[in-house]
């Protein structure tokens, strides 16, 4: 089964290599055209470099019903998902999560209950704001292992991936070029800079690119918010809740808004797009991932808005449980695409 996937990807890549019309759409084809034969690692690398912009599919003379039956966005999506499972540690988890977006939701609910129960058990008292509900130490007790685990798991996976695709020592210039490409989501702009094909067949639009950037920057701002709060708490002894003009809020509020807005936009776009140009088996888990991210953002915003009302405890438990779910799932959910993509672009920016 697995070998069939790579064989099929290789068959398609050989046809692309004889055609080359798509050379200017993205970074994948120039990389592909450097070789004459493709092994499993080459294919894995191309697949993780592919942003699924679909430009090559709609421009292709050889898509079905043509007997060559080329569908690069689809086969690369399948290989990509397969590779994330293969590299995941522990591997069994990954396959489980890949197959079921439903399971993601389930875990989310379980941890939600766990939190609610915990909140009810704790005596009301010490602390301000939501530390009255759940003490900071308990939070840390839960979140440190919950974030350490994905960190360790991902490190193991990514090291192996980087070694296998032949990644070498990383230079500063390479890093700079990589993050420039990511900051503008260069490969979703297509060769002519007018965006990708996604929600309306061969029409080029920036929608998906912008939605993705809203999510990405929103997420990073939220991450910065949490990190800055941790720093304030431990190094400056300034404790939550923070005022509107505090650093955590200045990061967190725009971040949360961007994240929620981006997730909703992305879901709408995904809904309109042709599923056959992606990995149809991963559709559920992809949706679930975007929804989960959206809930993390939305519950965070609501927690702030409803901080002084009776809804606060339930909002808090929803927010914390979605964050917890997100952390634990990171090595197995679509979240990993970010890490594999960064490494693949780094590899692509290597000077040969």
């Amino acid at each position: 089964m697995q070998d069939d996937l790579f064989k099929e990807a290789s068959r398609q890549a050989e046809i692309c290599n004889a055609c080359r019309y798509c050379e200017s759409y993205c970074s994948v084809f120039p990389e592909l055209h450097k070789l004459r034969e493709f092994n499993k690692m080459d294919i894995t690398y191309f697949a993780n470099l592919c942003h699924n912009c679909r430009g090559c599919y709609y421009a292709c003379q050889y898509t079905t019903p043509h007997e060559f039956n080329i569908n690069i966005p689809q086969i690369f999506a399948q290989v990509r998902h397969k590779s994330w499972q293969d590299y995941a540690w522990p591997r069994k988890f990954a396959t489980l999560f890949y197959k079921s977006g439903v399971l993601i939701s389930l875990i989310s609910i379980i941890s939600l209950c766990f939190f609610s129960a915990l909140l009810n058990l704790l005596p009301q008292g010490e602390g301000e704001g939501f530390y009255r509900i759940i003490s900071h130490n308990i939070l840390i007790l839960i979140f440190i292992p919950a974030s350490l685990f994905p960190f360790i798991s991902l490190s193991i996976s990514l090291r192996a991936f980087w070694r296998d695709i032949g990644g070498g020592k990383i230079t500063l210039k390479q890093l700079k070029n990589t993050f420039m490409a990511i900051s503008r989501m260069h490969d979703l702009a297509s060769g002519h800079g007018e965006g990708c094909n996604f929600e309306d067949e061969d029409r080029f639009s920036h929608s998906r690119r912008y939605a993705h950037q809203a999510i990405m920057y929103g997420f990073l701002l939220c991450f910065a918010s949490t990190s800055s709060a941790t720093i304030l708490h431990y190094f400056f002894d300034i404790k939550a809740p923070y005022g509107l003009f505090s650093i955590p809020k200045l990061f967190g509020i725009p971040g949360g808004i961007l994240l929620v807005f981006g997730c909703i936009w992305m879901l709408l776009l995904k809904f309109k797009s042709d599923q056959k140009l992606g990995d149809t088996k991963a559709w559920g888990s992809e949706y679930a991932f975007v929804i989960l991210l959206g809930i993390v953002g939305l519950s965070g915003l609501l927690l702030y808005l409803l901080g002084n009302t009776i809804f606060m405890p339930s909002m808090l438990s929803i927010h914390l449980s979605s964050v917890l779910t997100f952390f634990i799932l990171t090595p197995y959910s679509k979240m990993v695409h970010a890490f594999y993509r960064v490494l693949s672009i780094l590899k692509e920016k290597e000077i040969d």
């Binding site: 290599n17 055609c19 019309y21 050379e23 200017s24 004459r36 421009a59 292709c60 019903p65 043509h66």
Partner: protein, 461 residues
């Protein structure tokens, strides 16, 4: 319900779309009848990748300059003078304006593709190739209100009193008749009709492979010629190249080309060489090899190379047949062993000093004392593994077509037909009496598509 429109366009490729966009912008209603389903729309334009464009100064994406005279000289060389000078110069001089026009209507360009650097000066490459171009033009046409019916096969263009009276077509199993004010024929050549091809070429044509769309069967062309519309070009002239013998019968497109010939020896099924494989660089020679192979028994050839040359040309779509000895290679290619070995031994013995071998220029590394000689890149076939490709004749499009004037207008012996125009491959024979110049097909289609659209709109208003 299919309703009447001012202009009907038969065909759905580049020429048809250029005509449709031009006419729609001139304010008339336009309807495209494309006989292919949506997934196969665009005729041979789907398979193209660039158009040849004159320019006196660099203009994105073209480098340097390529003036009218040089362009015309190139055309004269390939056609051996068999061209209509007025129409040819019209196409060349208007090609520059086409570049800008195409950009304005959604076309995107890119630098010339890897492996095609020799065309960077003369040919503007479409981003993503011809299908990308066609997609963009369909979007623009749709935006301008052009109606498109796919799976619509035009069976008859009825002439009455030297004018188009009606158009008959089938769609979803039903017959329809429309009465447009003017008609533009942009339905390509007849190459997909193998019976017609066999009539023109003899039975050998049944072994040809059709590189492009299976929908160009020349139905309307035949219908109009039968009604006395003037023709141009010979039925046995076409753009034909030597391609991978394992290609699909239709629609294999660009990937089926093989660039290994200059580094190989090419034998026929009897194991004999028949032409100088190293006469010139491949982009200047590939178009003659279609005819060379067509003249061999069973219309098949075999290119044989060895390890030294396998990485010197663009990768092939199907992997080569590979063997560690020439004997095994002969068996795998089903060639007579002794005859092939004899040919190769004789060839190898005729190879001289190969120290000046240079894959990308005419290196003068040639054979001595054999006929035919190989005049460049002649290195012995002696280093295993050995590789073989079968070669067959691949037809791109036929040149027999409708004669037009500089207004893209068709005529009969009774004079011009005021409301019948033609553009694209269906009239390209006026300019291409024989031979081919890379990218000129799309230039002819764009220039004449725009002229046809403009003139038809003036007539229909």
């Amino acid at each position: 319900m299919i309703k009447n429109s001012d202009i009907l366009i038969v065909g759905g490729g580049n020429a048809a779309l250029c005509a449709a966009i031009t006419a729609a912008k001139a304010g008339v209603t336009v309807h495209i009848l494309e006989c292919a389903p949506k997934s196969y729309r665009g005729g041979n334009s789907r398979h193209t990748r660039n158009f040849r464009c004159m320019h006196d100064v660099p203009i994105d994406p073209l480098i340097s300059a390529y003036n009218e005279e040089e362009y015309y000289d190139d055309l004269i060389k390939v056609t051996k003078g068999k061209t209509d000078e007025i129409l040819a110069r019209l196409v060349i001089s208007q090609s520059l304006g086409c570049l800008e026009w195409m950009k304005q209507h959604g076309a995107k360009f890119q630098q010339s593709l890897s492996g095609t650097l020799s065309l960077a000066r003369t040919n503007a490459f479409f981003l993503g190739g011809g299908k990308g171009l066609v997609n963009a033009f369909y979007r623009t046409a749709h935006f301008l209100g052009v109606e498109v019916t796919y799976d619509a096969t035009v069976t008859h263009v009825e002439l009455k009193d030297n004018q188009v009276y009606s158009i008959h077509f089938t769609h979803k199993g039903e017959e329809h008749i429309l009465h447009p004010k003017a008609v533009i024929i942009a339905s390509g050549g007849f190459q997909a009709d193998k019976d017609w091809l066999a009539d023109a070429w003899g039975e050998a044509a049944r072994n040809f492979i059709i590189r492009g769309t299976p929908y160009n069967r020349g139905i309307v062309l035949k219908d109009l010629l039968a009604q006395g519309v003037q023709s141009v070009g010979d039925a046995d002239q076409c753009h034909a190249v030597a391609i991978d013998g394992r290609s699909p019968q239709y629609d294999g497109g660009i990937v089926t080309r093989l660039d290994c010939v200059p580094f190989s020896i090419v034998v026929n099924k009897n194991g004999e060489r028949f032409y100088d494989e190293g006469e010139d660089v491949w982009p200047k020679r590939y178009a003659i090899w279609g005819r060379l192979v067509a003249a061999q028994p069973d219309q098949i050839g075999y290119a044989i190379i060895d390890k030294k040359s396998i990485d010197l040309f663009m990768p092939s779509v199907f992997p080569p047949i590979k063997a560690d000895s020439l004997e095994v290679l002969a068996q795998k290619l089903q060639l007579q062993e002794t005859s092939l070995l004899e040919t190769i031994n004789r060839f190898n013995a005729a190879c001289g000093d190969i120290s000046n071998f240079h894959p990308t220029e005419l290196d003068g590394v040639k054979t001595k004392g054999i006929i035919p000689a190989k005049t460049n890149w002649a290195r012995p076939i002696d280093t295993p593994p050995f590789y073989g490709y079968s070669l067959k004749t691949g037809v791109t499009f036929t040149y027999l077509g409708l004669k037009v004037d500089q207004n893209a207008q068709c005529s009969t012996d009774n004079g011009l037909i005021p409301n019948l125009f033609a553009a694209g491959e269906v009239m390209a024979g006026s300019i291409l009496g024989q031979g081919y110049l890379a990218g000129i097909g799309m230039t002819i289609g764009t220039v004449f598509g725009r002229i046809a659209g403009e003139k038809a709109a003036i007539y229909a208003r």
